[in-house]
Amino acid sequence: MFVIHVLIHIVFMFAMPPLLLGVIAKTKAAFAGRAGPPLLQPYYDCIKLLQKGSVLSTTTTWVFLGGPVVGLASTLVAGLLLPLGGHAAPISFEGDLILFAYLFALGRFFTASAALDTGSAFEGMGAAREVTFACLAEPALFFGLLTLAKLSQSLSLTGMLTEPFAVAWGVGGSSLVLVAVSLFIVLLAENCRIPFDDPNTHLELTMIHEVMVLDHSGPAFGMILYGAAMKLFLLGAVLLRVLVPVSLGNAWFDWAGFLAGMTLLSVFIGVVESTMARLRLVNVPKVLVAACLLAAFGLVLLVK
């Protein structure tokens, strides 16, 4: 039974991430009164990019290609540590939450290095911004995970986000609300969604993530797109589990519920993106510090 669930886990993890981007794009199009791209457009984009050739600048070294590869690989490994839909993760051990957080950091390190490797001042600026904001998003994520660990008395993601966690809303409801809000802010910031960055802009000075990948093309860019979608999927799965820590009783229903929940979450992200304007760059650290404080406050409420 465990093997079947691991297989489903892997299928979901590989197949679903671009769908979330498609749902977000559809929601935004609906808000703008447009038909919008097809729901499966991100899949077509990835496939198209993988078939293309790529142009490499002569100033770049192996780091330039290492960025997308390590970025995608570290996200994949992080995905194996995270339980989806209340089923145990394929790999889990005590303290894997630290590995989970730092696999994202590893991917970010290589993406930023690849951006610096191009020797472009513009990409260097993007890398600096990305790393600055990541410094502030990381403690928020950690405080959130620590609160979950304290609630579930477990230090592995599987222990935190599967069965024992379901009772926690009765014990620490208010701190879970705080953690959920904080995780949502981290989700938007880490995936460069709208209040922090606009994933659609390629030519504006306020962008963060998109600046770093301007020089990538073809399969490398496809891997970046796919890795970014998967990061959104994974952080979304954590948030979904915090918000709805229930089991439907039947393992198959749980998977269906997970699918529906993730789709709803992407619709919600689409709504947030359609109704909010992007923050001024100087205000981004404020919001991220607020996210840290919310999560830290959630932890303090539990310890009291």
Partner: protein, 213 residues
């Protein structure tokens, strides 16, 4: 009824952070007003339940803190034509972090206090200490007189939360008297802000460092 007290206190403590981090005075005024209304509601949710006496005090608190003070302060900032606190002595993010540290310490400290057993399980004492600390921070680190009045109100809200613990023991006269004092204080401060502005064409209190005939 008491199970609603803790979520309300958590909201009140979060409002402290908003008051610390927001630079628009209008936002801070709204936040402090909302906090005042929450305090009034808290009085009705304590162990004894709503009696005529607590309902009276709660109604007075909601009316004064939720409607009269914000009105007066909005009027004051319109009169002197300022919208935001520009340069606090300690920056917004630093004061937010200080507020958070203070709140965490308040939670830890409240556990060590020898409280009556019925008061230990609620968040009233840490909530009160945290609000006093955040109010004090706003009062001490902001330069505009209006922000200082708002800090004073947050500080008073903290004391009021402590009063919720003792509301059975405290005579009605004292509670109403405190609210009346507060009313007079805000009233006088509103006039002083106006005067400072007319005299110096700014409400920056840093200029008020010399005494002259």
């Amino acid at each position: 009824m008491t199970e609603w007290l803790d979520p309300l206190l958590v909201v009140a403590m979060l409002l402290n952070f908003v008051a610390l981090g927001a630079s628009h005075l209008r936002t801070v005024i709204r936040v402090v007003a909302l906090q005042g209304v929450l305090l009034g509601v808290m009085l009705l949710l304590t162990h004894s339940g709503p009696s005529l006496r607590t309902s009276l005090v709660a109604a007075a608190a909601v009316l004064l803190k939720g409607a009269v003070f914000p009105r007066m302060l909005s009027h004051a900032i319109r009169e002197v034509n300022i919208r935001r606190e520009v340069e606090p002595i300690i920056g917004f993010i630093a004061s937010l972090v200080l507020g958070a540290i203070g709140t965490a310490l308040a939670v830890v400290f409240a556990r060590t206090l020898p409280l009556a057993p019925e008061h230990t399980e609620t968040m009233l004492v840490p909530g009160s200490l945290a609000s006093v600390w955040c109010g004090f921070l706003i009062l001490a680190t902001r330069l505009k007189a209006v922000s200082q009045v708002l800090g004073y109100l947050v500080l008073e809200n903290g004391i009021f939360i402590f009063g919720v613990l003792l509301h059975e023991a405290m005579p009605l006269l004292v509670e109403v008297g405190v609210l009346l004092d507060l009313f007079v204080a805000i009233f006088v401060m509103g006039i002083i802000i106006h005067r400072i502005n007319r005299e110096f064409s700014t409400v920056n209190t840093q200029l008020l460092s010399m005494l002259r005939d």
